[in-house]
Subunit: 391 residues, 4 copies
C-alpha cells in the first residue's frame, strides 16, 4: 500500500495524474510531418518558464547531469578556466565534471549552508584582467543543503567586474518551482530536468542557452556528439530531433506547461513558498535548525534539516522508510548522517506536506528525538490555515 | 493539484496505482475462448474473500444498489414479507427498495447509532410461527453512522427461532475490509461493490448467493431480466457472461484479489482496524463523540463523528473541500448537519490518514471548533507508532 | 502479442488511446460540489449525438440490456400490450425481456435479414382502435444480422395510424456511429451503451427519453428502484447521481463527446459508411452474401456474412482466433454456424479494416473456402483509395 | 483516429499495452533500500538477451546515440585509430561521431546494401602488425538499408588476424529481435536502445560491455562524466544509479524482459524472421528489389525497398502518411528518394504487417506504381498462413 504515499525527496517529484496520463502515449513517427506541431510549441513554452525571449531552449534525453555536460562541452575547450564555488553536493559535482573534462577549475570553498558568494566572484573576476576565466558556474538551488542562491547578485558581481565570463546556472531543482529570470539575470546556460518542477518522469534535460553562449559553439573544443548543440539546433530548426526523441516526455512536457500556465507561474511560486514556509514552521517548532544558514538562503523547494547532536539522520530516513513506507531525502556529502531533507516541490499540496510532517514526527519519537508528537504539525497547520489562497 | 490528495469518503475509495493499471485494458472479445480463463478464477477468488465454499458468486454491471435489487428480485415475490431494522441511511434504502418492489416490509425502528437488533429479530421470528417472513435483511456496515453489526448474532437469532427466513447482508462497505464469513454466518445473499474494499472503480456489484437462496429462483415472481440469476449462472457455467461484461472491472478484480491475497486477508483486516482505531484516538482527543453508540459497534471502515452542538457538519465538509481540496463524507439522513464521516477503508496507509486528520483539524479551527491544532493528530500518531506491523 | 491486433466484433469496440487515458482517473467524491461541473455538460453533449432538444438523457451503470429494462419498467405496467417484430437476436431479446416482465407482447415474425416492418406496424396499429398497444419497440441496428432499420418509416407508420403508442428504439450498436434523430423521428426512449459508438469500456447505458415517455413514469407499475427514472432525474436536477456513479465512464464519455465533436458527427457517419462499404466490396469480391437482404438494410456498423453452403462459420471464427489471434463476431441465434460478422464501428480506420479482411481471407483459405487470397482485400483497397477524405 | 494504426518505422516500435502499463509508474525514491530489488534483476535479464555471462550490462538515460558515445569515450583516447566500414546511414554516423571525438578513423567504403566486410577487416587488421587499430566498429543491423551483417564472421576475421582490437557492435535495431551472442561472438561493447526490440519508449541506452573493454576504462582519455562507466559500475555495485534514473523505463524493461522470456527468445526470433519473410514475399510479388543485395544480408527487423525508376520514395511515404495516417520509414542518406522502409520489429503480428502492406499498396497505386492491389498482400498471406506457429 505504501506506493499510495507521497514522496518527500527533492526529486523525482510526485507526478500528477494528469501528467501520468499525458506521458502514456503510443509510439509515433518522429520523422512524420506532424511532429513539429507538437514539439515546437513545447520549446516556446519552456522559454516562458525560464524567462527568456532571446535564448534558445534545447531538450536532451538525459538526466540533469547530462544537461550540464552539454552545457560545458558546447561552450568550452580543454584547459579553459572556470570559476565555481563549492557549497554542497551538487556544486561539488559540477566541479568534478569540469575537472574530468580537462577544465581548469578555480574553486571557492564555502561552508555548506551558504550560497553563491557574489562578492568573492566579483573580487576574483575583477582581478582576472586577462579574462582567463571563461565561465562562472552557479548552483541556483543547492539540493544538498536547501540553499537558494541569488543569481541576480551573481550577475551584478560579473557586471561590476565588467567581465565577459559566461554565467551557467544549475536550475535543476529550482526552475518551474521558483522564479527564474534567464534574460533579466543574464544567464547564459540554464539547466533543468523533467523530474522536478516540471513534475514528469526522469529522462529529459531542459536547457536554456543564450545567444552569447551559442556564439561559442564552433570554437568550443570539448568533444561531443550526442550533446552537440549544433546538431540539435539544426534539427530543431526543421521541427525535428537529431535522433529518436523521448516522445512520452515531450508530450508530458506539453501538458506540464499547460498545467503551469493554468495555475499561473506566480501562483506556482507562491504555492512553493507557502508549502516550504509551513515546513520551516514545523522545523522551528521542533527546535531544529536548517542547514541553510540565513533566511535569505532558505530554499522553497527543499529543506535540509539538522538532526540534534548524537542522532544519525540516516537512521531516521531508513526508519521512516521501513516502518512507514515514506521516502525523505537523506543527507548528502558532508551532511550525511547529520541532516535529512524534505523535498517540497512539484505537484504538492499542504495536505500532502502535513502527511510528511506527521510521519517524520512519528519516526523521530520512535528514535527518542526530543520532540512532541503533533508539535511541528500544529505549527504547520497554523501557518497553512492562515495563508490558504482564496479560490 | 488537489487531485493529488487522498479522499476520505467511505467509497469510492482511493484506487491503488496497480489497480488503475490493471483496469486500463484494451477491448477484447468476451465471446472468445480465452475469456473464461480470466473470468472463472475471479469468481473463485471472490468466494475466498466472502468466506463461502458452498455458495455462488455473481457479478453484475451495476453499483451496489443494483446488487440489492438482484438479491430481492431473484428470491422473493410481490407481497412477500421481509424483516428489516432501520438504523441508518443504507438500511433505510433497502426498506424503500423492498417497498417499491411490492414487498411487505416489517420495519424495526432503531436509533441511528445502534446496529442490527438480534434480540428483536429473534422475538419477531419466534412469534412468526407461520413463517410468513421470507427474509431478514441486515446492513453489515451502516455507512451513514459508522456502525458495524454482528452478523453472527443475527444468524444465532434466526436459528434460535428455528426460522427458515433467508438472511440477506449488505456488505458493500465491509466486505474485503473486515472479516466476512458467509458460510459460517449462514448468509444467503451478500452484496458487495467494486469501489470499496476491492479498491476499484465503481461499476460492478459482487454477490455471494447460497444454494438455499438459489433454490428460490424459480418460484420468485418479481420480474427481472438484467439481474436474473438464472441467465447469469447459465452463462457463467460456460465461462461466459449473458451480455457484454465490464472487462476492465473483471481484470481489475483479478488484480485486486491478487493484492488482497499478497497482503493476506488477516493483515488487510488488521490494517483496517489499526487505521480506524487511530482515527478514533483522534476523535477522543478532540473530545468528540462517534455516532456509533458503543465500542462493539465501531466500524473499521468509516467513522461518523458528531460535531459539537451549535456547529454545522455540512459547513465543515464544504469548508474542507473548498479550502483544502479534500473530501470527507457528509452526514447522511438524520445525521445531516450533525456529523461528518471519515472513510478509512480500501487502499490506505497511516500516512494518508494523518493527512486527513491534520486537514480536518485545520478546517475545524478555521470554523472555531473547540479543539487544538495537532491534538487529534498527536493521538493518532501515538497510536500508529505503537502499533505499526513489523515488516 | 495478439493483444496488439484490433478486434472486429460489433462491440465492445476498439478503445482509442485518448479514451483509455480519459477513463484512467483517480477516485473522487461524487458528492463534492464540483461533480456537476463535469457531469451536466456530458448529459448535454449526449443530447446532441442522439438528436434531442426536448428529451432528457439518463445514464445508468449497466450494460445496454439494463438500459432496456430501465426503458420498459419506467413506462409500462404488467399486462400492458407492446408490439415487437422479431428479425434477429437482439429484437428477440427484447421480446423475451418484455415477456419476463409480464407484458403482453404481440410479436411479428420476420425473416432474419429483414428489418422493422413499418407497413405491418401501421396495419396492426390502425386496427388497434382501442389503443391497447402501449409501445412499439424497434431494434435500430440488428447486430445479429447486420440490418439497419428505417426508424423514420416506423414513425410515419405510427403517425399514419394516428396511434399514441410510445416508440422505443434500441440504438446500442447504432448511436454515435450512424445518424440518429430522436426528436425528428419521434423516438420516446432510445437506448445506447458506452462500449459501441462511444468507444468506451462497457458499463454504462445511455438513454434518451422523451417528455411523453417521462409522463408515464408515475403510472408505470413495473417495480424498479435501481433503474427508476424518478430517482435519477431528481438527483440529476441537482447535478448529482442517486448512488455511486461510474466516474471513469463519465470522464470517458466527456472525452468521447469531445472526440466526436472534433471529428464532426457528419464525418463520423461518413467514415462508418465508407469503412462498411469497403467490407461489402470485399464480400462481393469473394462472391459471398450478406444476411441483410437488400442494400437499403445494410448496416454501417456490422456486416453479417453468410459462409458458403457446407462450411461452418463457427469453425472459421474459432480458427481465426486461435491461429491469428483476431476476434470476429460469431453467428448468433439462427445465424449460428451459417454466418460470421465483421464489426466495423467505433474507433476504426481503413488500415485496421484491411488487416481484418486480410486475416479472415487467410483463415478462409486455410479452411478451403472457394476464394483467392487478396481478392477481397483488393476490392476494399480499390474502394478505400478512391474514397479517402481529403484532409 | 489514425493513432489507432500501427507504425511501420524501424523504431520506435509499437509499444504493447502491457509495457505501456508497466512504464506508467509513480515516482519513487531511487535511493530507497528497495530500488536495487527492482534494478539488479533487470541487469541480469538483459545479460541473457544479449548473450553474455562474463560482461556487464549498463543502462544510460539517453537514446542509442548516447550509448555509442559512452562506448567510445570509456575505452578510447584522442588519436586512437579505429576501423569502420561505411555501408549505410548508421555506420556513417559512428564514423562521424568518432571523428568528432578526435579518433583517427580508417574508413572502408562499401556499397550501401552490403554489410560488414569481414575479409577486408581481416586484411587490414593483418597488415596492422603494430596493432595501432584499437577498435573495429560494426553496425549489426544497418537500419538505413535493411542489411544484417554477420558478426561472427567479423570476430573470425579479427581472430584470424590475431589482432587485439576491441569489437564494438551497434545492435540498436537488432538486439532482442534477432539472435545476438555477445560472448560467443567476442563482442566488447554492444549497444541497444529501449525503443526497438525491447518495445519501450525511447530514452534508455542498453550496453553490454566485456571485461576486456572495461579494462580500458582507466587509460581511456576521452573526457566523459555523464556516460562514465566507472561511476555507473560503482553505483550499480550497490544496486544504485549515479544520478536520477529513468524509473519508468527500468520498470518497463523489467516487464519487457518478462514478456520476451514468456514468449521465449527463440520464438521471438522466429516471429521476426517470419514477419520479415512475409514482407519480402510481398516485395517480390510487386517485382521490387530490396536494398540488401543478397539474401544472406536480409534484415529481419527492417526492409529497405527500392521504388521503381522514376518514382520518388519520399512522395510515397508522405502520401501514405497524409492520406492513410500510417508511418513508413523514409529512405535515409543515399537511399533518400530511392527507397522506403518497412520496420517489422518489436511488438508486431502478421495481422498488423498485412495492414501495412495493404496500405502501402493503396498508396503506390494512387501514385501509379506498376503494381496490382492485393498483389503483395496475397503473397504475404500465402506465406503467413503456411508458416503460422501452432499454439
Amino acid at each position: 500500500m505504501s506506493q499510495q504515499n507521497p514522496i518527500f525527496i527533492p526529486g523525482p517529484t510526485n507526478i500528477p495524474d494528469r501528467l501520468r496520463r499525458a506521458m502514456n502515449v503510443p509510439s509515433q513517427d518522429h520523422r512524420a510531418p506532424d511532429f513539429s506541431d507538437t514539439f515546437l510549441p513545447v520549446l516556446a513554452g519552456v522559454k516562458e518558464v525560464i524567462g527568456t525571449e532571446d535564448g534558445e531552449v534545447l531538450l536532451f534525453t538525459s538526466s540533469g547531469t547530462g544537461g550540464w555536460e552539454a552545457a560545458i562541452s558546447n561552450t568550452l575547450s580543454p584547459g579553459d578556466k572556470v570559476l565555481i564555488a563549492r557549497y554542497g553536493m551538487f556544486s561539488h559535482r559540477w566541479i568534478d565534471m569540469c575537472q574530468r573534462h580537462g577544465l581548469d577549475v578555480q574553486v571557492i570553498e564555502c561552508p555548506w549552508g551558504t550560497g553563491a558568494p557574489a562578492d568573492q566572484f566579483e573580487a576574483i573576476l575583477s582581478a582576472d584582467t586577462e579574462h582567463e576565466i571563461k565561465a562562472v558556474m552557479v548552483t541556483h538551488n543547492e539540493t544538498a543543503t536547501g540553499v537558494m542562491s541569488d543569481i541576480g547578485a551573481v550577475r551584478k558581481a560579473i557586471d561590476s567586474a565588467a567581465h565577459p565570463a559566461l554565467l551557467f546556472v544549475d536550475g535543476v531543482s529550482s526552475i518551474a518551482s521558483v522564479p527564474f529570470e534567464m534574460d533579466a539575470w543574464g544567464v547564459d546556460v540554464a539547466v533543468a530536468g523533467s523530474q522536478k518542477g516540471f513534475m514528469l518522469a526522469t529522462g529529459m534535460a531542459v536547457l536554456g542557452v543564450s545567444q552569447k553562449a551559442l556564439s561559442h559553439m564552433d570554437e568550443a573544443k570539448l568533444p561531443r556528439t550526442y550533446f552537440d548543440f549544433r546538431d540539435m539546433l539544426k534539427a530543431n530548426a526543421n521541427g525535428g530531433f537529431p535522433y529518436t526523441p523521448p516522445l512520452n516526455l515531450i508530450y508530458g512536457l506539453r501538458e506540464s506547461l499547460k498545467m503551469l500556465s493554468e495555475e499561473g507561474l506566480e501562483n506556482v511560486y507562491a504555492r512553493h513558498y507557502r508549502l516550504a514556509e509551513g515546513v520551516r514552521q514545523a522545523v522551528s517548532a521542533w527546535g531544529f535548525k536548517l542547514c541553510a544558514q540565513t533566511p535569505d538562503l532558505y530554499s522553497n523547494t527543499v529543506s535540509a534539516i539538522f538532526v540534534p547532536e548524537g542522532f544519525d539522520s540516516n537512521e531516521l530516513t531508513d526508519h521512516a522508510f521501513n516502518k512507514y513506507g515514506i521516502s525523505f531525502g537523506i543527507g548528502l556529502g558532508e551532511m550525511n548522517g547529520k541532516a535529512f531533507r524534505i523535498g517540497h516541490l512539484g505537484s504538492l499540496t499542504e495536505v500532502m506536506v502535513l502527511a510528511g510532517l506527521a510521519t517524520i514526527e512519528m519516526a523521530m519519537v520512535d528514535l527518542d528525538y526530543p520532540i512532541q508528537l503533533g508539535q511541528g504539525v500544529a505549527a504547520a497547520q497554523e501557518y497553512y490555515r492562515n495563508t490558504a489562497p482564496t479560490k
